[in-house]
């Protein structure tokens, strides 16, 4: 059977090649998606295991290690402990680079909690330093280089470490280095690293730790699971997009291969009928088809998946490194093998099913239906060959619908990618995206608000107070409080999801992210630990869809914040008039004594990462566009092959290359145009809302494409239809007219 199948594939060499290219293209996408998705989904656990990440990290004010250790070693479920002394805002200089936002950790125990990726660990001798991997990469540091670490002076870099308790520098604000303890017993600790016997019972240890924490200032706990959730939020959207993208590619390839196999079987019905008349069983005929499909798909899929995995190996490793996660290495082979099996099964099933269905009919019925029988339409087209081509394309309605559906899904994904990329850039650059209606902030005293308001071009100004607080019930869930005197919606108005706006100093509007985490709803009482140590209680007036600080945010009046800390200084939030000269306003504000800053959007700190992600999404959109092109070429090639008699007749009647191209363009447009329109509708009604919910259910993400993007997608698909037309027309015109006439 294998010899017969190979002979069949050789006999249809060009079609075999086209089908193999399709499988390869789809597998390439699948390989890409599986590689990045698996790497991101498992990267944290892998890194955490390799780095021996502690189950709990506790932060607190500087404390002597001996009294601290007395309390810590009494904790239940504790397997091991270690301490560090952390200092932030330290100047670091090396290799021509400099930052004031360095952080050093003096290691006060043997168990590290990080992985030395290059070089060696600290030996305990003075003069040595280990740098975090992101810092080393960003500054081009190598083992043996020298780093100036604040007052510790010039230290020799002996190792480069990966610490998955945070993302890498510069995604993380601080550039971190590790130092040996050269001060002996005098060195205080402000970090405790705890390893547990049973990590699933971390809550028991945390409760006990909270109860014995009397005297420890600004105590904060971060669990390993908490770190994983935070990093997972960043990676989750990328993973879900890649998985969706891979599925789209698989569905597209499966649909097109099934359509191609169906057309192939239709053409070979006579041969199938003869085989059946000669005594071949339906199972043998289907088996032959399955063998052909397997012989074609297995090498093509293996090549595609391998290429996909290799292509993304570099970017994926870079992405993992920026998240302080580890690449999967050989462990990736398992998922890739599964992907290969899945692709092969889909292709074999898609190719075998039409042959099996056809071969089960009586041989006489198969022989009677040996010719291609496109459905009759009706009246003549209105003088256009393009309309005739559209009629050709829509004659096989099920295939047309399947192709349109494939194109629509692809177009929807492309639209989604473009909309997401724009959103990310808006999140990076446009404070309006997160509900901020002011454009500038000025570090001026609130008493100067009136003078700022008088500046030409300023539409409104109000003091904006912020404070980082923690909830009093859930072991200090951190949150940000924002306060404006009076109606805050004039300057900051995140959309209301439930309840109403706050109306007094005893009320709060909480972000949906915070409400979900703490089970808050309108009418709930919310107790907050303010930075000064006092507790404030607010009645929840409303829940808002806020993106800032992952939705862990609340809007209040400033009264209680000022009660807690009378020295709390606001900045002035400045709203500009429409069309105001921003530079002129800036000059006026500088003259008042303080240079204004642009209002930040969601994640200004991660601006560079968002920019890269936007580029990646556009690249993914381009790749899906190529899948569209493949689907169009495949659909058009099947139509042209099926209607080669009609095309040959047109040529026999004197139709030139232009006539053939118009017919094919009509056929391609009949698929591309409805596909594009449906794709945009799909994005608007399904994909956009679903992804917005997946990415940030706590906020209102405006993932709707702009008019320009819709035009770009529709025009792009029509351009792809033109490209597909050119490719197929070239092949059709190379065929002698008589060949088509013989088959027609």
């Amino acid at each position: 059977m294998i010899a017969l199948a190979l002979a069949g594939l050789r006999a249809r060499r060009s079609r075999t090649l086209l089908a193999a290219l399709g499988v390869l293209a789809a597998s390439l996408v699948v390989g890409t998606g599986v590689s990045v998705g698996y790497a991101l989904a498992t990267g944290f656990e892998r890194a955490a295991e390799q780095a021996d990440l502690p189950d709990i990290v506790a932060r607190f004010d500087d404390t002597g290690t001996e009294p601290l250790d007395e309390r810590v070693r009494a904790l239940p479920n504790l397997a091991a402990r270690s301490y560090r002394f952390e200092r932030t805002n330290i100047p670091l200089t090396a290799n021509g680079h400099h930052t004031h936002q360095g952080a050093f950790h003096v290691l006060l125990g043997d168990r590290r909690g990080y992985l030395v990726a290059e070089g060696r660990d600290l030996s305990g001798r003075p003069g040595e330093v280990v740098a975090e991997q992101g810092l080393a990469r960003e500054w081009g540091l190598r083992v043996g280089d020298t780093i100036d670490v604040g007052r510790a002076g010039a230290l020799r870099l002996v190792g480069i470490a990966v610490s998955p308790d945070n993302v890498a520098y510069p995604l993380a604000r601080a550039a971190r280095v590790y130092l040996p303890d050269v001060y002996g017993a005098d060195t205080p600790a402000n970090l405790a690293l705890l390893w547990l016997n049973d990590p699933t019972k971390a809550d028991v240890t945390l409760t006990q730790a909270r109860s014995v924490s009397f005297g420890l200032g600004r105590l904060e706990f971060v669990t390993r699971d908490g770190v994983k959730v935070l990093l997972g939020q960043a990676a989750g959207i990328v993973i879900s997009l890649l998985v969706a993208f891979s599925l789209v590619a698989l569905v597209a390839a499966g649909t097109m291969l099934a359509a191609g196999a169906h057309a192939d079987v239709q053409r070979r019905l006579a041969a199938l009928g003869v085989q059946r008349a000669l005594g071949f069983s339906p199972a043998r005929i289907a088996g032959l088809q399955a063998t052909e499909a397997a012989l074609l798909s297995l090498p093509a899929a293996a090549a595609g998946i391998a290429i996909g995995a290799l292509v993304v190996a570099g970017p994926s490793a870079a992405l993992l490194a920026s998240l302080n996660e580890r690449p999967p290495g050989w462990a990736l082979l398992g998922p890739l093998a599964l992907a290969l099996a899945a692709v092969t099964v889909i292709v074999v099933a898609a190719a075998t099913w039409p042959a099996w269905r056809a071969a089960r009919r009586p041989p006489a019925a198969i022989l009677r239906g040996g010719d291609v029988d496109p459905r009759s339409g009706g009246r003549a087209p209105g003088g256009s060959f393009a309309v005739l081509g559209a009629r050709f394309a829509t004659a096989a309605r099920a295939r047309w619908a399947a192709t349109v559906a494939t194109i629509a899904v692809c177009a929807g994904v492309v639209t989604l990618m473009l909309a997401l990329a724009s959103l990310l850039e808006r999140l990076r650059d446009d404070p309006g995206t997160v509900g901020k209606r002011y454009q500038l902030t000025v570090p001026l005293d609130a008493s100067l608000a009136g003078r700022v308001d008088d500046v030409p071009g300023v539409a409104g100004v109000a003091p904006r107070y912020t404070a980082d607080a923690a909830d009093s019930y859930r072991l200090g869930e951190p949150l940000r409080l924002v306060a404006f005197p009076g109606d805050h919606t004039r300057l900051e108005a995140p959309p209301l999801a439930a309840g109403r706006r706050l109306s007094g100093p005893g009320e709060i509007e909480v972000g949906l992210g915070l409400a979900d985490a703490l089970g808050l709803r309108p009418g709930s009482t919310f107790a907050v630990q303010l930075p000064g140590g006092t507790e404030a209680r607010f009645r929840v007036a409303g829940v808002v869809r806020a993106l800032e600080n992952d939705g862990r945010i609340g809007w209040v009046r400033p009264t209680r914040l000022l009660d807690d800390d009378p020295d709390l200084r606001p900045s002035l939030a400045v709203r500009l008039e429409g069309g105001a000269d921003r530079d002129a306003v800036t000059r006026e504000l500088v003259a008042l004594g303080a240079p204004p800053q642009s209002a930040s959007a969601a994640t200004t700190r991660n601006a560079q990462f968002l920019g890269v992600l936007a580029s990646v999404l556009r690249g993914v959109g381009l790749a899906v566009g190529l899948v569209c092109l493949y689907a169009l070429v495949q659909a058009l090639a099947v139509t042209a092959r099926e209607r080669r008699g009609a095309v040959a007749l047109l040529r026999a009647c004197g139709g030139d290359a232009g006539t053939v191209a118009r017919v094919l363009l009509g056929a391609a447009t009949a698929v591309a145009l409805p596909g594009a329109v449906l794709g945009v509708v799909l994005e608007l009604t399904v994909m956009g809302p679903v992804v917005a919910h997946l990415a940030a259910g706590f906020a209102s993400l405006p993932i709707a494409p702009g008019p320009g993007q819709v035009v770009l997608v529709v025009a792009g698909l029509l351009a792809l239809a033109a490209v597909a037309t050119a490719l197929v027309a070239r092949r059709v015109l190379r065929e002698p007219v008589v060949v088509g006439l013989r088959e027609g």
Binding site: P374, F392, A652, C653, D656, L741
Partner: protein
Amino acid sequence: MNGVATVTVRGLVKTFGEGRAARRVLDGTDLTVQAGEVVAILGRSGSGKSTLLHLLGGLDRADAGTIEVAGMDVSGADERQLSALRRRRVGFVFQFFHLLPELTGEANVLLAGRVRGAHPDAAARGRELIDGLGLRPVAESLPSRLSGGEQQRFAIARALVNDPAVLLADEPTGNLDVEAGAEVLRLLRAGAAGGRAVVLVTHERAAAEAADRVLTLHEGRLV
């Protein structure tokens, strides 16, 4: 136009296959057809009759020899020129009609007139032909609802819609009953009466009787 050579073929050679499998179906074929003349070409299956017709109509290319159709050198023409030849100078009638199943009989006839560069009066002429051939009552029918004779008459109307100088008919009665076949031959004769050169390929002696001259293709040559 009588007495003027509309089709002139000299030393035509066409080989199919390569090496030991090569088969020379036309081997120095010569042919001249005058305007207004009907020439029937007989021959056994596989003797090269249809191949000769395809070469005359620019549907295929010869290995050697010259072909001149209605004043145009076909053998040296590029694809664009061959399209123009098929558009304005040659009309084809096929054994299996080759009507597009999606289009009505009339739309099939007018289709050839919609090709860019077609005769400017093609549409009006097509309607006249439909009326003249008695096809008006079934002009709006799809091919699947037409008899074989009706389909072939629509095919002849389509071949004539651009008023070609040469009509090439490949087994035009091969798929028809005697009565319908006779009607088709009458129409081809009428086409010749309008000053066209008609080349009719057939293996039916009865069909050949309608021709002014009968030639037999034997071992690659017309005798």
